[in-house]
């Protein structure tokens, strides 16, 4: 371990002229003076020794009648000493120090973590619209306003934390990957109404008065479970009516119309195989392409690779290096074959069915057919589905005056 520490510090390469190098080395060892990379020579030996140890060699040299001559000096201390009178060197050191300090006052990199739905470039573009971009002074960055803006702009972002680390602005994001649903106000009384025409397949009421039963046909907007609950005495007369939040699990068998179309003629991108690469240097947020090319591509995909130079993990510099690859392509118009069009349309249908299944919709029957007029392929029909097709609405005959305005349960 000491060896690595010595190599990292300032050391000198010396040649020791001695009749008895073994004695010299043993004496050094007893005084905790250590050489490394020792190689035997005719006059004695060559070796490396730290500057601090070198200064303690005088007495040993006297006792062993040895001579130590410095061949090389290594280390920043010697470099500084060598150039101590070169004012341009000192000026350069000061200037580079100032430049580093100036660079540390700006944010040169904005990175995002935890985002999957919104890409980095998409979020960076939004941030630039609110005045946050790479190269802006760190003192102008208001993390809390960035957090607030992102949360209010994108509903699917549930949590944002902006953090300045060195010259980086790091934005941690959590997206809503749970079920999307309307927030329910727990205070409001409500009915459950059908959101589609169909037949009730099952109904389990937890709160409220069920107005339909299994097998009933319902229309869109019809109240399925009322939030009004009547209290009936032993004589069968209504003594009181209370209002509550209707709550139930209802499955309704309904028909879902499905339609999708695909134009037979479409444009396909064909790469010609011609490509060119240009090196790119980014300085203070501006990308400069190096080189000149006579080739001009009308249509080309551009693949950009860019890496920002950095001194440490958090100290990014305003310099980036990268390359741009231009891949030329041309657009050709082609016609879908019937089998190909059918495959594409059914693949889209299957994706749609999978999405429905994830939303607790069970497909009972599928009567979707494909037809074509030579220009457009159309996939249309109806899907018979069993689904929780209901929504909430304010209680229809809500009359809190004179009645109990409290929550109650009813089977």
């Amino acid at each position: 371990m000491w060896r690595q520490a010595k190599i990292a510090s300032n050391y000198v390469v010396v040649c020791v002229t001695s009749d008895c190098p073994e004695r010299f080395l043993n004496m050094c060892r007893h005084r905790n003076i250590f050489f490394w990379d020792v190689s035997k020579k005719e006059y004695g030996f060559d070796g490396k020794i730290s500057r601090k140890d070198f200064l303690q060699l005088k007495e040993i040299c006297y006792k062993t009648r040895s001579r130590v001559r410095i061949r090389l000096r290594r280390g920043i201390r010697f470099v500084l000493f060598k150039y101590r009178k070169h004012y341009s060197f000192l000026a350069g050191m000061c200037l580079s120090g100032l430049m580093l300090y100036a660079c540390s006052l700006f944010a040169w990199d904005i990175s995002f973590t935890g985002n999957s739905e919104y890409t980095d470039s998409f979020l960076a573009k939004y941030l630039s619209t609110i005045g946050v971009h790479a190269g802006m002074p760190l003192r102008d960055i208001d993390c809390s306003s960035i957090e607030h803006s992102l949360r209010s702009e994108y509903d699917n972002i549930t949590w944002v934390s902006a953090q300045i680390n060195g010259t980086r602005l790091i934005i941690h994001i959590k997206e809503n990957d749970g079920a999307k649903g309307e927030p329910v106000n727990e205070e409001d009384e409500r009915d459950i109404v059908a959101s589609a025409d169909g037949t009730v397949e099952s109904i389990v009421t937890r709160k409220g008065t069920p107005l339909v039963k299994e097998g009933d046909t319902v229309k869109k907007g019809q109240v399925l479970v009322s939030g009004a609950v009547s209290i009936i005495d032993d004589a069968g007369t209504e003594t009181e009516k209370i209002y509550t939040q209707a709550d139930a699990d209802i499955m309704i068998k309904t028909l879902l119309p499905y339609e999708d179309s695909l134009e037979a003629s479409h444009e396909v991108k064909y790469y010609t195989g011609r490509k060119k690469r240009k090196l790119m240097i980014g300085l203070f947020g501006t990308d400069i392409e190096i080189g000149f090319s006579l080739q001009r591509y009308v249509n080309a995909d551009v693949l950009t690779q860019n890496s920002v130079l950095r001194l440490t993990d958090s100290f990014f510099l305003p310099i980036s290096l990268g390359s741009k690859d231009y891949l030329e392509y041309e657009m050709r118009t082609e016609e879908y074959e019937p089998e190909e069009a059918e495959e594409i349309l059914y693949a889209k249908l299957n994706r749609y069915l999978k999405e429905l299944l994830e939303n607790k919709v069970q497909i009972l029957d599928n009567s979707v057919k494909i037809d074509s007029n030579g220009i457009v392929y159309r996939l249309s029909g109806t899907l018979t589905a069993s689904m929780p097709a209901f929504s909430y609405a304010p209680v229809a005959d809500f009359d809190p005056v004179g009645d109990g305005h409290e929550k109650a349960g009813s089977g």
Binding site: W2, R3, P21, E22, L25, N26, R29, N32, F34, F35, W36, D37, V38, S39, K40, F45, G47
Partner: protein, 85 residues
């Protein structure tokens, strides 16, 4: 065998720690590490003699260099041909 050696053997202690025996580690015939050496007796380009508690340890080879040394250990690099006690 000495009494100390028998005691260390009976108590299952390591000999290098209890008796100060040299520990010689060779990496191929390229590097050699000797722990618990007392001093350098002789150093030439083709031979290195070390004094240990067990006696003289002679390393023969070609272009022998002392990689480093400290209180406990010395590392030798070169084309090692023979290690002799």
């Amino acid at each position: 065998m000495t009494r100390k050696y028998n005691l260390a053997e009976a108590l299952d202690f390591t000999k290098d720690a209890t008796l100060g025996m040299p520990v010689v580690t060779a990496i191929g015939n390229y590097e050699l590490y000797v722990e618990n050496f007392k001093s350098i007796v002789s150093y030439e380009g083709d031979m290195l003699k070390l004094l240990t508690r067990k006696g003289m340890l002679t390393v023969c080879g070609e272009a022998l260099e002392i990689l480093y040394y400290d209180d406990e250990e010395i590392a030798v690099r070169g084309c090692i041909k023979k290690i002799e006690f």
